[in-house]
Subunit: 498 residues, 2 copies
């Protein structure tokens, strides 16, 4: 039986997410994000199409480094305005039964106790359909929204995240035993106090007494998502992540990343298949290759290079240099990253070429345009040659992209046995990804040590430590990052471009 494809829609509660400028397309619905009807319509469309999940990225700061201010981001609605992801998920949960959800939250700025209870509440409300994308937040403005003067260094953020998530596991897995809730009206015992525990967590950054205020939800711990493009990120994923949005611009890079992270998972006592790998994918489908190409050309008319530069936090204003100038002659000496390497290795490359890349749709390996046959042929290569498990479908137009995929791509995937015929009604998100009976973290996962095991709450745990060094060359950054981020402050490789 051929390996099936996991299909998530890539969303964010904002007007312009990652396809810069297309909010201004007359057929786009993205300006409706403030309206609950948008989310209900989207959720019901995706459930009609039997998507696995809708995945919401997030940021908690504005992109205000390009041209030293907010102007470009605000004009282009580039992730500002942006709203909370989890409240939209709660609204979508009310009008669906099977669609899964993933939401992004940062471990860096808000206390774990508050987050833990919100997530448990939402895993209850979705009846176990929830995933959490773990991020540590990379915008300087985010730091300044939460009382800091500047960002915490990249690897330090991962150290904090490793403590943070340990608090969460103790609350989600350890605080209430499976047998705690009795709901015995006759004897008047709702829960057995002997099976509800304080967690008494104390580590460098967190001190949390507990108990968890929420009783265990179906999954207890939501499905743990992560996007990695750094050595520290890969180490973190090895211990914690269950679904990884992997980077890399070429099949070789993606395969290498997957190998590396599987190896890290094994090093943490997990099985190699305990992590599923998703790539961000662009799929433009038409009844003919020409129709699909025309659709792409139609999208291109609305692209914004400036929004892409703002998103990339560029410290060099490519857009204000004549396109014919050679990059190598004009790039500042202290400029680091992708464009520096390109300028050094290919001195003839012009600013115009750089701008085409920056303002483009990141048209690398996971970008396909054509008939359903063309598209699914390509998707099958991603699965079989690169070893991916699924995609996070990029939206050019909301809701056109999802509709096209549902009406044209999914039937073809089904014909080839690459996509389920229908939902298994009532399954959790973790069961959908890892199979029936797998609603909870597997026993060998780090977080499972606390489950029904109050003694484990008292054992000090070995924290992950990440050296304050640039990422290892053996992990390729997310393709989006490589193409769109002309320079990155302080850290050699960002963890994810939301």
């Amino acid at each position: 039986m051929p390996k099936p494809l996991v299909v998530n829609l890539f969303e964010m509660n904002c007007v312009s997410h990652i396809v810069h400028g297309l909010w201004s397309h007359p057929d786009n619905n993205r300006h409706r994000i403030n309206d609950i009807e948008y989310w209900k319509e989207l959720a019901q469309l995706l459930e009609y199409g039997t998507f696995d999940a809708v995945f919401l990225a997030d940021v908690i700061g504005a992109y205000d480094t390009f041209r030293d201010g907010l102007d470009t981001a605000v004009r282009e609605a580039m992730q500002i305005p942006r709203n909370d992801p989890f409240l939209a998920i709660a609204a979508m949960a009310a009008v669906t039964r099977n669609l899964g959800f993933g939401g992004t939250f940062s471990t860096t700025y808000e206390p774990p106790f508050g987050f833990a209870q919100r997530i448990s509440t939402l895993d209850h409300l979705t009846n176990g359909r929830l995933g959490w994308n773990i991020v540590t937040s990379y915008l300087p403005n985010a730091a300044r929204n939460f009382g800091l003067d500047d960002e915490i260094p990249h690897d330090k953020r991962f150290e904090i995240a490793d403590e943070y998530i340990d608090v969460l596991y103790k609350l989600w897995e350890g605080s209430w035993e499976d047998s705690a809730v009795l709901f015995d009206r006759e004897s008047r015992i709702y829960a057995d106090p002997a099976r509800v525990h304080y967690i008494d967590h104390a580590s460098e950054h967190y001190k949390v007494e507990g108990p968890h205020l929420t009783q265990p939800s179906r999954q207890r711990t939501p499905v743990l998502f992560q996007a990695t493009g750094s050595k520290a990120g890969a180490e973190f994923a090895g211990r914690h992540a269950e679904v990884v949005f992997t980077g890399g611009g070429t099949p070789e890079e993606v395969r290498a990343n997957i190998r590396l992270m599987k190896a890290r998972a094994v090093a943490h006592g997990r099985t190699p298949d305990s992590i599923k790998f998703l790539v961000r994918a662009a799929v433009i489908v038409g009844r003919s290759d020409l129709e699909a190409q025309k659709k792409l050309e139609g999208y291109r008319k609305y692209q914004s290079v400036e929004a892409a530069l703002a998103h990339g936090q560029s410290h060099f204003d490519f857009a204000r240099v004549p396109p014919s100038v050679k990059l190598s002659t004009i790039l500042p000496k202290d400029y680091k990253g992708h464009w520096r390497r390109l300028a050094d290795t290919a001195p003839e490359v012009t600013v115009g070429e750089a701008l085409r890349q920056i303002g483009g749709f990141n048209e690398g390996r996971y970008f396909v345009v054509g008939t359903p046959k063309t598209v699914v042929d390509e998707i099958e290569r991603w699965i079989d040659e690169d070893g991916i498990d699924g995609i996070n479908l990029l939206q050019f137009l909301t809701f056109e992209t999802a509709r096209d995929f549902i009406e044209r791509v999914i039937p073809e995937l089904r014909r080839r046995g690459r996509f389920r015929e229908s939902y298994n009604d009532g399954e959790t998100l973790r069961e959908r990804i890892f199979g029936a009976g797998h609603s909870r973290l597997p026993a060998e996962h780090y977080g499972a040590r606390y489950r029904n095991n109050p003694a484990a709450l008292k054992i000090p745990t070995q924290r992950l430590r990440f050296a304050e060094t640039p990422a290892d060359a053996s992990i390729a950054p997310l393709a989006a990052v490589a193409a769109r981020t002309p320079t990155i402050k302080r850290t050699a490789a960002p963890t994810a471009l939301p």
Copy 2:
């Protein structure tokens, strides 16, 4: 025209809220709180009944001081398990159009930036139907869930709250001008950067750069609710609150509280009618007075004195003393508060009498049992004699209490012109309470100074300062507190019993 009544349902995302023990009643639905269908059913019932709003209390710690542990609270489901209120509101918003919502959040432990964006998101998703109940959190365990060793003293918490809410106003009112969002696809300007502002807040406890990431919602600032039983609370309400859950066991006390808070509002430049006053009310209705009385007797069978003692954080175990013993002979010397005063002024009062009060339904002024006529006669007295504007309806059984009110009390209120015939479709919560056209904070409200006025963001504001002293005798605590809280640690009067 007679003064109409505001009717909120008093809810909390927990199994046993404030009517102790009744979760064990066979007709109660409270154990269903983890199920989204509970919230959908409740919201649609209340909207069918044209309730003004459903109001959700909250706590972020366990009641673990009684008998030095969690046992009683966990056995009795006494606000543990408890889930997040705002996620339930988002789910309810998806299946209603007019019902208002109030949710509780504490200003003490989580950063204002994260909260500000969640509330703005929810005001968008509800299309302006949101209220926020401002609390500062009074449980020692809550403090220990957020890294502290013990509670911050009462009045200090209000000082922090006054800074916290100033950050919120700057984000909600000041960061985006009304004219900022252009949504101009042709010119490709989503918003005008000249009208989106950093807030650059810096005060003793908070440093927040902004801008707000969410564009202005219909109400900008949600309707501000507060429950007060302290002098500091009254001062805070005078500046900030728009709806106050007022305390006091007698009409005189309630009238005095209302007078005091109106005076504080006036001292802060507001009109006397800028605050609406709600009381927590218990209404048990039957087709005859006898039927209603029998219903009450039926509820009594499930009452739990021990849960009430746990809720009151009692440091003296009334339940383990023979009921015939006189309170004055057995109450510890250092015991403070209501029972101390009672023991001193009425030395003949027995422990049995104290237990009847503690375990009772707080059957004071705002407790009525009888036919619709009996009930509404009484409610009219509350409105006309005591000067209240509305009620927070206590639930004995979910959904029986709300159904009874809808089917039997609302028709009688309508006959007397005390309740609207239908919703004004599409109005905001603030309009429902303060009239058409009043979706935003009124101009004279402290928070409105920042609206469309970026210069105001740069003016340092005069913070409220509350002396570290016991509450002034001129404000009577919430009735629930007086009856149920045998002793209160550190602070002379708690702000609210959630």
